[in-house]
Amino acid sequence: MIASLAMGGYGAYVWTAVAVFFIVLLIDTLAPLARRRRNLRDIRARIARQENRRRPGTPASNEPNA
């Protein structure tokens, strides 16, 4: 087993290649999932803001002053 892991002296190259493969694809897999979650959060925030715009000036509104 150890011998086959060592890859006849080329283990460093082969295993680095395997690691590169997995790391790059792992990032590539996680990125869209995180992005989807963030997008949904943004949309919730936007909806909340639009609600806020419909009922404007809840705090600190002394408009009739002008």
Binding site: G8, P32, R35, I43
Partner: protein, 255 residues
């Protein structure tokens, strides 16, 4: 061209439909990709015999070659999607083209890295400026240029259209990568592996390679679908179905 193309695409192209469709395909594609990839790597790294010339270093082939194929295959898909998107103004096609680019860039990067890792023991250098290596590097730049252009725009749709344009312009590079070994005399080896005809290498080397090829294709489908789903949510943000999704009990959860 026939107008069944837009018709058919419009049906599948309805964003909520596609969103659900992609959501149901995604776990299967990803799961199968992982399974096949594991089998292929096991076969390639432990079962297949060492090469009589290269020793065990050749085992990088099981990553390098499928990734290299994907880097070109994905660009082909993008070109097609970009063309459809520009001609028929189909949003989903634009999205597919744009969301393929990062996956293609990832595979191109893997090809470059594993090629280097292979080149050091075989050629004694990490890098040479031979035609195939360089054209592959140029391919990476093109992918990055597309991603960069897409994100440089405030308006996503506009960015997608501009970047689709660039996809078509950059497509000339793909045949150069593929045929460079025939056109110029290079260090990089030519097509030694024939899928159909008699190949120079043992069957125990060929099957892991083919399995890995299938695994990367499936992975591409999975990653593309996940990306398109994320993109649809952003670009359809104002539509009711996305609002329902966002405000839904599990915040979207599984589709």
């Amino acid at each position: 061209m026939a107008n069944w193309v837009p018709l058919w695409l419009h049906r599948l192209g309805s964003p909520p439909t596609f969103y659900r469709f992609a959501g149901s395909v995604y776990p299967w594609a990803l799961g199968l990709a992982i399974l096949l990839g594991g089998v292929a790597l096991y076969g390639g790294l432990f079962v297949a015999p060492a090469d009589y010339q290269q020793g065990d270093a050749y085992r990088i082939i099981f990553i390098h070659v499928p990734s290299a194929w994907m880097s070109l295959f994905i660009y082909g898909v993008m070109t097609l999607a970009a063309f459809i998107g520009l001609v028929w103004r189909i949003k989903l096609a634009e999205t597919v083209a744009m969301e393929s680019a990062p996956v293609g860039a990832a595979f191109t990067a893997i090809t470059l890295a594993t090629g280097s890792l292979w080149g050091k023991p075989m050629w004694g250098t990490w890098w040479t400026w031979d035609a195939r290596l360089t054209s592959e590097l140029v391919l990476l730049f093109i992918y990055l240029g597309i991603v960069g252009l897409y994100h440089a725009f405030e308006d996503r749709r506009q960015g997608a259209r501009a970047a689709c344009f660039l996809v078509l312009v950059g497509a000339v590079n793909v045949p150069i990568v593929h045929f460079s070994v025939n056109w110029w005399n290079t260090l990089h080896q030519g097509a030694t592996i024939r899928l159909l005809g008699p190949s120079h290498i043992a069957a125990s080397m060929v099957w892991p390679l083919l399995t890995m090829m299938a695994a990367t294709k499936l992975y591409y489908i999975a990653s593309l679908f996940a990306r398109v789903r994320a993109d649809l949510i952003a670009s359809e943000g104002g539509k009711a179905w996305v609002r329902d999704l966002a405000l839904g009990p599990a915040g979207g959860g599984k589709a």
